[in-house]
Symmetry: C2
Subunit: 449 residues, 2 copies
Amino acid sequence: MKVVKFGGSSLASGAQFQKVIEIINADPDRRVVVVSAPGKRNDADTKVTDLLIKYAKHPDRKTIVEEIWARYQEIADFFQVPAELLQPLKSELENLPQQNYSNSDFLLAAFKAHGEKINAQLLTIILQEQNKPAEFFDPEKSGLIVTNNPHDAHVLPQTYDRLADFQNPNKILVVPGFYGRSEDGEIATFSRGGSDITGAIMAKGLHADLYENFTDVDAVFAVNPQLVKNPIPIKLMTYRELRELSYTGFSVFHDEALIPTIEAQIPINVKNTNHPDLPGTLVVPEKDFKPQHTITGVASSKHFSALYLHRYMLNKEVGFTLKLLEIFYKYNISYEHMPSGIDDLTVIFDQNQFNGDLREQMCEEIRATLGPDRLEWIDDYAIIMVVGEGMRNKIGVLKRIVDPLAQANIGIHMINQGASRISIMLGTKQADASTAVKKIYQQFFESKE
Amino acid sequence: MKVVKFGGSSLASGAQFQKVIEIINADPDRRVVVVSAPGKRNDADTKVTDLLIKYAKHPDRKTIVEEIWARYQEIADFFQVPAELLQPLKSELENLPQQNYSNSDFLLAAFKAHGEKINAQLLTIILQEQNKPAEFFDPEKSGLIVTNNPHDAHVLPQTYDRLADFQNPNKILVVPGFYGRSEDGEIATFSRGGSDITGAIMAKGLHADLYENFTDVDAVFAVNPQLVKNPIPIKLMTYRELRELSYTGFSVFHDEALIPTIEAQIPINVKNTNHPDLPGTLVVPEKDFKPQHTITGVASSKHFSALYLHRYMLNKEVGFTLKLLEIFYKYNISYEHMPSGIDDLTVIFDQNQFNGDLREQMCEEIRATLGPDRLEWIDDYAIIMVVGEGMRNKIGVLKRIVDPLAQANIGIHMINQGASRISIMLGTKQADASTAVKKIYQQFFESKE
């Protein structure tokens, strides 16, 4: 049995719905279908989720409701769905402001979730009209139970007990992604892009053999196609590799969605709704993987800052780093990496955590508590990740990475290898990051090994 | 004014004493002389400090006292020192067991310190006999005040107030190294090799222009002479470089001795008592340094172990490393480095901290508290340090380091650059470490840049 998830662009219009239905029909194993809310039809378009957020803030503005409903109506018209079947969905949308919510956050969560909920109901109707045994799966009634965080909920273990009832469905279950029922009985959503998570939970809970994740790209590529023209698609990769690449912006698959699939060791197939014939990218457990290239992919991310600390005999003090981490903890700052020298420490942060005086306050406390000889803040920091199970224990990989960078006159501020055996992390100036990624890609994929 | 410190081998015999006296006489600026206890005269010899440790444990064994005194007598005979001048020193040695000590640790500290104390008094007598204006500087009376740790004391700030009285000495002060008076009035020693520390304290306290550290090697070398024949001597280096190289076994100068010299920004000249005409190695503040080579030195050390931890989403947990460090703190374990991946962490430890069940207990607690997906302990770990102010911001250094290692088929487990801008740290198997050091040395010092 396969769980199939379709992203927002795959369900943005009637024409896209048609492709989705053909994909479902093409394989009788596709018996659980997880849907997102309708996404953008073109660059100028607005996602239904964003319209719903507006609606939540201005529940009296009729034009917004009309704009939202028009999206669903367009799809329904494409399939000539009778008006009386649509009326309940339209009413549900219109009546959203009249429901009870414990606070404005749960109100917003419920509004957002209806992008998926209405879309799933609409797909169910269309399939049923075509005489398919489709059934709407209601996360609230069927027990997809999540924590009480309205916008960043996490699945709770009892969900999996409940899902056991749905194993081996002889129908096509159509599941709205992105949300569940909180412990207190209200709608709570996962973080943005969370339909991937719903798919993963369904795959685990129903013991799927495969989790197919349909999106609008042919595959995960070895490098960002905006940097390199026609990069090679990754045919096979491991969970770990996907995770490491996701870190620097390979955003094809939601981070948190990996966990349930890893726990259940279910392979993920990332495919393109618009080219379902292509093999896409298969993400598998480590044991099922044989590397085809030395590296699997390379990516960069530019939103980092670094804090440099120097103090003589720093590494003789058992408590130095501990005190430092306690300060980060107090300011609720998480750090990314912390390469250390003998008397030095560099701490790399996600830049987006700092606003206003927070950074200066934190640095001041570090100065007062730890008395470093030197404290420096560096804002121009990019991280490059070179990822590949194939480089494990392979000698000379590092040489092949740093050679082209030296030739391109790119300075390496930081290099961190040793923790993950399947990745090497480099720090460069932000202006050098894209060139560095290109050079590394060319070295491993365009030159002879 | 110069502070001159002589190591144990420089004062191991009458003949060596003669060289020391010639060095003192050669420069009227050498007005503070710090002495160690007599060291080994040959490989089979025993250091006086080690004999004193035996004496402290068996205070009734006359043969040990005789063996110790014989060392001083040999030196005195070389200079034909009259017996009546020696009698007080001999009595002081013989009467050591009769003094009061608050406990056996302070007893041992006092016994050990007398290796230096008697040697300094003996040198004073010899200089005076040669009509030099020498005077014994008594750390107990003159106020070299240290903490109450009998064997690992640290200098206290009031020492420097006291030392101000001794500025611009018009005599030659002969200072026994290695010990001071504890706050409670007893003798307490620095850690082993601590005469370097006394020299540094005197240099700072008396505002010396230069701290000359005489030992038995011509210079600090760019690589261990046991690995490479006739390596190039380092003529000029910075405090930081010395510190980084000391970390991996460049043991010419005591780690802690650097602090007072850095605080007072006094250059250190490491010289050879046996070839005082050679320039030796000058260690200077960063501002006085112009790099002559890209790297200054390379060294390795093999006594490391690594702990590898893997857990999905590890870097999303603000408190993960904090909890880990709290466990280390509880077990009083200090870590050396902690390179991190996205979902992994490697922690590198000094192997010598672990004995018996400690390691297993600690790992068990880490398992129970942090629940990693994987925990691995790796015992075969060597660290290589490549050090040089000259590689700061220089592009291509990393390439030149990893190139020869790849050619020699050496796997790099870990690489850590970024904290200290003047060093790159590599992890290899212990069996590969010496070859790696040799190859890196050859790359930077024997091939054309």
